[in-house]
């Protein structure tokens, strides 16, 4: 941690302090553990993927769909979905878009900078339950980030699933997140990848339009399908509606919800969503349990 005490301490003392902090963090979910930025990769103009590695020890295991609370010292803390594991498995990937003071501070971090991390928290995508069934992944904009670990999981265990469709919508061809990885997925013969953008010029040869009509074009057996949906809430409402229209049962449609998460363990109430807390009962929630709440403005 970049405190005065830590800066003045000898390297061995810092390692001891980090080990003590790690042990304490495991016991106390409110205590951030110190991580360092190993790599910062610019994805889009305002979006960066940070590779975070614990200052000592290994990062805890996470389920695709979970999030961490990232704390930039002196600025504040925010909930950021885990967008993958680092290549060596020793840390987390977090894809951060600058939308506020904390996310802007995080997105501006250079390799070596310290970040406080609490987590992982929350529910994950139902990847075990989906085994043997078709899977439709519907992502909009930055919503691809929390889905990327799930997609990697599906593709790494491709034989366990039926048809897999990845439907991705973005604002403009310039704003396609994880473009190289998308192209790799698209090059596979065992997955159906469709990409659309809201607006484009004539140099774009792909699909233009919103993501929801892609659901009608994708091949899947609606009665044997699990759908994983993440994006802006309006998009998710429309996507869930289109999946229901296609015949997918509401109980097999899963949305990753976003609310103002603060404590991350269901105590503070900031992320209350009807009878549930998004941090504890979500962020991945079954559509049949929240469909009635999505249309309530006050929630």
């Amino acid at each position: 941690m970049e405190t005065a005490e830590a800066a003045a301490a000898a390297p061995g003392q810092i390692a001891d302090m980090a080990r003590i902090a790690a042990a304490a963090a495991a016991a106390d979910p409110f205590l951030p553990r110190v991580y360092r930025v190993r790599q910062a990769r610019r994805e889009l103009g305002d979006t960066v993927t940070l590779e975070l590695q614990p200052e000592s020890g290994a990062a805890p295991a996470f389920a695709p769909g979970q999030f961490n609370m990232l704390y930039r010292h002196g600025v504040g803390e925010t909930a950021i979905s885990i967008s993958g594991a680092s290549e060596d498995g020793a840390g987390f990937l977090h894809t951060v878009r600058k939308v506020g003071a904390v996310s802007a501070a995080l997105a501006g971090l250079e390799p070596g900078a310290a970040v406080g991390v609490r987590g992982p928290f929350g529910s994950g995508w139902p990847l075990a339950a989906a085994e043997g069934a078709d899977v439709v992944v519907v992502a909009g904009g930055l919503g691809l980030a929390p889905l990327r670990p799930a997609i990697r999981h599906l593709l790494a265990r491709r034989e366990r699933y039926g048809r897999v469709a990845i439907l991705f919508g973005a604002r403009h061809p310039r704003e396609l997140l994880f473009r190289q990885e998308l192209e790799r997925w698209r090059a596979r013969l065992d997955v159906d990848v469709m990409v659309t953008v809201d607006h484009a010029d004539a140099s774009w040869h792909g699909s233009v339009g919103v993501v929801t009509p892609l659901i009608r074009r994708a091949a899947f057996d609606p009665h044997e399908t699990h759908a994983l949906v993440c994006g802006p809430e309006v998009m998710m409402r429309f996507a869930a509606g289109a999946l229901c229209d296609a015949g997918v049962p509401q109980s097999r449609i899963h949305l990753s919800m976003e609310r103002n998460m603060k404590c991350a363990i269901g105590l503070c109430g900031h992320c209350q969503f009807g009878p549930a807390f998004v941090c504890k009962d979500g962020p991945v929630m079954r559509y049949d349990r929240i469909a009635g709440l999505l249309a309530v403005r006050e929630i």
Binding site: A202, V208, G209
Partner: protein
């Protein structure tokens, strides 16, 4: 004519339509092929035909003075291009460009409107098939207007 009827029979837009009504529509149909870059129609042109897409992708675009045209939607196999033929003064409000090689069946609008006037059962069948398309496109446009992926 039989071949055009067969082509229409295999298109989702005509699913469930009686062969008699489909044959009436096929009487107004002709085959088209557009190479990539060719226009199916241009803005302000007379909407005297609509297109049943069999193959390829069509980009719907709006031209802006001094700027590259903006593509606001693409349509593909199994979809329909053009609704302005339904509503007076029957003028296109955008350009439709073949983004790839396109094969389509064109339906002569004046011919079909005349048949719909003469046979309201046919007219109602056409309305039942066009209105959902218009509603779906309206919903899609609402999402686009919201600019949901932007920073807010």
């Amino acid at each position: 004519m039989e071949r055009l009827d067969d082509l229409l029979a295999g298109h989702p837009f005509f699913a469930g339509m009686s062969p008699e009504l489909r044959a009436l529509i096929a009487g107004c149909a002709r085959n088209h092929r557009f190479d990539a870059g060719q226009y199916l129609f241009r803005e302000s042109g007379s909407a005297d035909e609509f297109f049943v897409l069999r193959h390829g992708r069509v980009a719907l675009e709006l031209a802006q003075p001094g700027r590259a045209p903006v593509v606001f939607e693409t349509l593909g196999e199994g979809e329909i291009v053009g609704a302005s033929w339904l509503v007076p003064p029957y003028r296109w409000n955008y350009d439709a460009r073949a983004a790839t090689l396109v094969r389509a069946v064109g339906i002569d609008a004046a011919c079909l409107r005349g048949k719909c006037e003469a046979d309201h059962h046919l007219g109602y069948e056409m309305m039942k098939r066009f209105v959902p398309i218009l509603v779906q496109r309206l919903h899609a446009t609402q999402l686009q207007i919201l600019d949901i992926y932007g920073n807010r």
